[in-house]
Symmetry: none
Subunit: 205 residues, 4 copies
DNA sequence: TATGAATGAGAGTTCATTCAT
DNA sequence: AATGAATGAACTCTCATTCAT
């Protein structure tokens, strides 16, 4: 009966509703792509009436943008947490690809939507994707490549350029999965290949 | 009474019209993406009435598929011709990325459409892209990697897997260009990086 | 919190709107025929925007089928009710044609649409018409002809074949009306003619 | 080389072409109905280019009207010739239904088109059908019913009204055939039924 | 807050018809 | 006389969005 209590409860319900809508939206966008996704269907398949989703997102586009932002954050957290457990740059590189491929296998629909946005024709979605993935880009450049150089195990490459290269490799491969989310190349293979190109040759006596 | 002449003329007109429509279609698809492309606009911007395009392509989808097929062929020819000029596998790798990045810079719109199709949400387009790019995949696997292994300059990697990796790297990077078609990494950088991972270490005595 | 009330109101609105659309549809189909009927015009002439009709019927064809089903039911009820008031088979026959011709005069547009569907080129419409008119067919075969035979006033004809014949006569004549719905032959004339063919000749001593 | 010869030859070719087009048109109209018939398809399935048909018929509608006229004539000739072989009115009635049902079985497509036109929604087609069938209407009224009355075997019914009734019966039944053109009731059955209603009762002594 | 009836701009597609060759 | 490329009006259907309840 207290306003505070009611507010809290209402807030909680709204948060839950919002999450249900986002969950349904991811499914819909993954299955049909943004243009063919049906916002009414999203709302109803989440268990609400058609109009309800407009109480949470002002437009289909805004819904998509919110989805991109939140998924990028999830993606980053998922990878960064696993990468930073390791101290060695080489190991971190391995963890990067492991966690990265693991993400697209675990979050199949989310991954699909992110890839569509990143490589799709919509400039705004691409732009938002770039922004959203800057932290991951920095993670690779600073906490893996930069670290490896300072640890003396990587050749002195340009961290920024190489980070871009690695991100492209990661996303390019991650975008081509089978129906179960499995990539064509294993994380180990890719990490090996990449480390081969990055590691200093063993100095001969 | 001059059927040969008439046929030739008719054929020529149809070929020209078809090409004009394809040109307009590429522009439209590149700018708006498949779903937001307007087939009427394609026909009129090619200089015809909106119905005309249906004399050449039975549907918007068929137009897109024709575009994919023809562009893939152009893409393959463009790259294969330049790669095969070289005899050394390492040089071929360099040419592959050079020609590849050159293609997306030269054929900006075509490249855009192909990337959208390859990474987009439409299963048929993705499927057709795979099929259309099989020859390029084989080019990389046999005429570059396989050659390098047999020439003794590349480590004995699995050609198929590695070809997939390289194609992913190529397409991943090629998909991220600025407005002029320039990639973030230069062909040389990428080729260097890749060759670093592929080349046999110099054997010390 | 008053779902009952809200539901009832909603339901009522939908029922009314649906009926308005059906009414407009009958007019349109009767005037132009199915193929030339304009579904947008139906919706707007019913007082709604063109898209509204698609909230009630998934397609033009589905609208037509709904119309056929409901009109066939109306038609059957109209005739059966009047026929069954009589106990004598001969009187029932008279009532059948009276009510039948009355129906097409009273429901001019509905009749027109039904006739078009029954004799038109669309196989599905014809098929649905057959199904929809089976009950009327049975009414004639069992409750008129069969009754007359068991009452001893009709010759022992095959009820099914003769019912088909009578339905064909009824529909054939009913399909040819002037603008006011009047048939070329009166119900009495037709009933007389038919009964002449059905009645047992008076047995001479 | 003489103009006359050339003209004759040309006329003959045109007549043949016209007939080929009419044949194809009947098939098309029977299969799809007038509105869904494709005039281009008619021309090409007759072995000509799209435009050719417009050298013979000024419009799709004119083609249909020509078809109706010619088919009605064929229909009339087919029936009248057989009816007039008989001298007795009762036998003529039997021949009428025999020939009538035979016609729709022999000329399946033509029959279909005529029925569609007669019962369809297009007022012009219906009007033309009425006009075209007046001679058959008169055949029934004068050469069958009128004859029977004057021969003393038919009751003194009104020839015009009864002719309308019989035409409706004939067309109603003829319009409902299976795929092979067979009607649900046999000509004998129908003729029997009709004659039962028309014949004078045998006068008792 | 949730609802869902109503809206209407917009798209793909068809095809009768024209006309230059 | 025959051709067939081009035309463009017209139509069905979709669905993001609004808003009164």
């Amino acid at each position: 009966m207290t306003p505070r209590h009611k507010d809290t409860k209402r807030t909680q319900i709204m948060t839950e509703t919002r999450q249900l809508l986002m969950d349904a939206a991811i499914q819909e966008f993954a299955q049909y792509g943004y243009e063919n996704a049906n916002i009414n269907r999203i709302s109803t398949s989440a268990g609400f009436a058609k109009g309800t989703i407009y109480n949470y997102f002002p437009s289909k586009r805004a819904l998509m943008l919110a989805l991109i932002e939140e998924t990028a954050q999830l993606h980053l957290d998922f990878i960064a947490e696993r990468v930073r457990r390791e101290q060695d740059a080489g190991r971190r590189m391995e963890r990067f690809f492991e966690a990265g491929f693991d993400f697209v296998a675990t979050y199949l629909t989310q991954g699909r939507v992110m890839i569509n946005s990143l490589y799709g024709p919509d400039p705004e979605f691409r732009q938002v994707m770039y922004q959203a993935y800057l932290p991951m880009f920095e993670l690779v450049g600073r906490d893996i490549i930069g670290l490896g150089i300072s640890q003396g195990t990587f050749r002195p490459v340009d961290p920024t350029t190489t980070a871009g290269l690695l991100m492209n490799i990661y996303l390019g491969i991650a975008s081509q999965t089978d129906d179960t989310g499995k990539t064509w190349q294993s994380a180990d293979q890719v990490a090996d290949f990449v480390l081969n190109g990055l590691r200093k040759p063993a100095t001969s006596v």
